[in-house]
Symmetry: C2
Subunit: 555 residues, 2 copies
């Protein structure tokens, strides 16, 4: 009879930055009781996921074992950690545990899907704990760029685990709990079996800076600007929003928040008591009436998102406000790789309006993740037996294992789907689980491998030819093939309409086709497709997607 084991299985977030979902299990192999830490989303892009609304982890494995799932634990309220809770509540069913601010955000998502409030349970911070099967889980406050972020202290019969969540070492985070070195030392005092650790900034060599360091430079910046000042940051970075608002007030300006997400986050902060002393703000109607040099706007859209406030201001007007020569737009944020084009588009639109744009200036932004020296410090505070890097692309995880080795800690690169047995002195791979991505496409969930998005990409790259032929009762063509095109040039090499060329080539093919071909839908379709692709290639140099419809008239 095999003995109990302690396992770790990332379903998302390991080998990528986004859609975090980490399973822990304890028990007999194949019968472990399970908990899930975080359930987030990733955002789509045109290159790989055109038309997709959200990317979710594929949780098939977990859903099939939902009877063994004791609970879901959310470390903090960023979309890549909490964004999928409502989408998967039906499949998983388990209660969702989170601290008050995170729970507030999670409940709003649940409400949108008609799920009950009670499914989300508010937990108090460490040293209080929640028991879930063989696990006892505590939410230990840790500094990050959103209130009430927590590292999870997971006690198991196999030893204590620490799942850091996203974190930085910040002893003055403006809003919320400072990094508490003593608390973490005491958590680690009796030994840590494994630390599962944020890896985002492992390549950043310099020590991280405190959130509190940006206030003075931002104030100074605003004081020196003649016109309206508009600043953007991540809506969820409530500390930064407060810093910006306070800087505006100190510079003698009235502050106005714009964008649904930002108002929502500030509201959640106030409701849950984590955000106090937030300066008074004015509504947009009022801001639009004040002298420009008396106004500061704080807006959503730091990543150039097309529908956010910043993009709309860049387009010309938002909430009755237009930016003008002499105004200033500050990105108090970092552009996430892949979002450069959208951000640059906005910067140029503002430039056309005569607005001075400040972007990529370290004085006005600090990261919410631990840099390499801070990761190193965390290794040394907790001295885990095993380090498993998470929240990183493969290169981050690999580098983080190197850092662990330099601290004489056993590490392993475990990417999504790799089930790790934490039982021994060193981590070992127990099993490979099939994982992947699920797309929320409109209102439907589709699999990343279903071929639907692949077809969309192909249509976008190659264009689409549609062919209709009608075959009569005697298997003879009734009239000539009919062609429609979409996304292809109207005329090609022959300088005649492409549709005409295709119709003629297809008609010739039909004329040559034997009875056997005409009687066989598959053969006929194959032939028509081949001719259409070849002719389009000759005419335009492109090999299009082809859809053939054969209508057979019957008596």
């Amino acid at each position: 009879m095999s003995s109990d084991r302690l396992i770790y299985l990332p379903l998302g977030g390991a080998g990528e930055i986004g859609m975090n979902a980490y399973v822990y299990g304890y028990g007999k192999p194949g019968k472990e009781r399970l908990i899930l830490v975080d359930l987030g989303v990733t955002f789509p892009d045109m290159d790989t996921t055109p038309g997709v609304d959200l990317i979710l982890p594929d949780i098939t494995w977990l859903a099939e074992r939902r009877d063994r799932l004791e609970g879901v634990f959310i470390t903090h309220a960023h979309e890549d950690h909490v964004g999928a809770v409502a989408h998967y509540y039906e499949q998983l069913g388990a209660p969702i545990h989170a601290r008050a601010f995170t729970a507030n955000i999670a409940r709003a998502k649940m409400a949108e899907h008609g799920h009950p409030d009670t499914a989300v349970r508010v937990v108090s911070p460490w040293p209080e704990t929640v028991t879930a099967g063989p696990f006892t889980v505590g939410f230990a406050p840790i500094s990050h760029s959103i209130p009430e972020s927590s590292g999870l202290v997971i006690d198991t019969p196999g030893g204590r685990l620490v799942h850091t969540g996203d974190f930085k070492i910040d002893t003055d985070p403006v809003v919320g709990e400072p990094f508490d070195r003593e608390m973490w030392e005491s958590i680690g005092a009796d030994g840590i079996k494994a630390m599962i650790c944020d890896s985002t900034n492992v390549f950043s060599e310099h020590a991280g800076r405190s959130e509190s360091s940006v206030g003075a430079p931002i104030t100074e910046l605003i004081q020196g600007r003649p016109g309206m000042v508009v600043a953007t940051t991540f809506a969820s970075n409530v500390a930064r929003v407060k810093t910006l608002a306070e800087a505006g007030v100190r510079a003698g300006r009235s502050v106005c928040l714009m964008g649904r997400a930002m108002n929502r986050m500030v509201e959640a902060g106030k409701q849950t008591g984590v955000l106090t002393g937030f300066p008074a703000t004015i509504p947009p109607e009022e801001a639009s009436k004040l002298a420009r040099e008396s106004v500061m706007l704080i807006v959503t859209g730091s990543q150039g998102e097309r529908r956010a406030a910043s993009a709309q201001l860049a387009n010309g007007k938002y909430n009755g406000i237009t930016m003008k020569e002499g105004d200033t737009f500050l990105f108090s944020s970092k552009t996430i790789p892949g979002n450069e084009r959208g951000v640059i588009r906005i910067m140029n639109q503002f430039s056309e309006q005569g607005v001075d744009v400040i972007e990529g200036d370290d004085r006005y932004h600090v990261s919410g993740h631990a840099n390499r020296p801070d990761l190193d410090a965390m290794h040394k505070i907790l001295r885990p037996q095993i380090l498993i890097p998470m929240h990183g692309e493969h290169r981050h995880l690999r580098e983080h294992v190197k850092l662990a080795k330099s601290n004489r800690i056993e590490g392993v690169v475990a990417v999504n789907g790799m089930m790790i047995d934490l039982g021994g002195n060193a981590p070992k791979v127990a099993e490979y689980i099939e994982t992947g991505r699920t797309y929320l496409d409109g209102s439907v969930k589709i699999g990343a491998m279903d071929g639907i998005v692949r077809d969309r990409i192909r249509m976008a790259l190659n264009g689409h030819v549609m062919i209709n032929v009608i075959i009569d009762e005697d298997d003879a063509p009734l009239g000539d093939p009919w062609v429609e095109i979409m996304g292809l040039p109207e005329t090609g090499r022959a300088r005649a309409p492409l549709v005409d060329v295709l119709e003629e080539d297809l008609a010739q093919f039909m004329g040559r086709a034997g009875d056997k071909t005409l009687a066989d839908d598959d053969k006929l379709e194959q032939g028509l497709r081949r001719v259409a692709r070849q002719s389009t290639q000759t005419e335009t140099g492109k090999r299009p997607e082809v859809t053939v419809v054969i209508s057979r008239l019957t008596e």
Copy 2:
């Protein structure tokens, strides 16, 4: 009678970084004799130009005035300056002037299109000149990241212009001509009417570094690495390729060049005599047989291009070579904004192979463009009456005008299509010309505004529904509508196949449709489209593109 005027008209490259094409004219308004400086391309992306092969400036305005075009002058052999010469040779017809290395590259492009060698004329550098109507044009050597880059000294009856082309101030550029301050001072000695100036790095505050500064650090890096070392850079940066090769040799390794573009560029450099003393290289077959620590590869694909050598190595194997644990991959390059995703993908693939990747490290790369202090120096060397920034997005042009103002030089932001009259003491807008982009799509040129690419994007975002109905001789439906879908979920809310749901809804519509609708193709199509979009929206939350084919049987 109006008098002669001197005009500047960018058709590409002003308000963007890419597809440079600048027109100069002198003569009576509307009858100016013209020259074109540079004729380059821009590269497409999935967000805005899926399936497009190359983006060219729209030269309609110039082609309509080809009888007034005296010549085309190419400053250097980068694709964004020379890439469109062959595509537009037929429309423009004018002779193409370039220095030997640039001409070598241009002629290869012309040959691919079957255009004559003689269309490209090799010119000697300044102080020699070419006369083209009222213009006398000299190619004054200027340092950049490709051999024989030249600033153009354009003498006109309206005064002397300097079109800098792309440049940096580098007195030790490894390959080719050092920046010659005395020459430029003498060019400016009698006064410059206008300088049309590179703006790429106007936001880079520190002084630029010399190409020669990267050799030693790269050598040191290679010497310290245990396995194979692979480096990538822009193929056209012949100086860097040479620096990398020399560093490899100094580190005791055999050097192998990989990738068509890189071999082509080095060949052109040797053929034209600009590249001398290039170390001996070995072919890939030989490299694959040597001990890993004895080999250095220099490969194409620094921007993550999918078909380049670096991407193929990252995918597993290229030219018989596979990378392994302990190998090193060096990006001796900068990632151009927008290319981050492709570069990061490669970095992670290499990470999975155990390869150490070095990217974004300033020690191993310097820019080919003048930073702000160097732009400032150039202003002071030439002291032009007017400065017109080019080779920049709007934000770069605007910032460069500010820099000019700080030097008490009149400047103007002139974007594509703004014709500037350089006659007075300050530049003024003479006219707005319709400009834009032309897409090379397969083998066909299409207009950016033709709607073809827009349709492709829509199919990619929304999916495509195709509907076929057959109407008999009496305007009655023959059978039910037939639906095909592409890029849409197979089942939606009803949990029945989407195609079945659509066919049923469309059949119901046909059943309800009156004779008038059934007899009218437009009305029928409109109705079918509306029902299909609405039903798809209900089922999937997406409003697809719809193509309707109505086949009417006639006697």
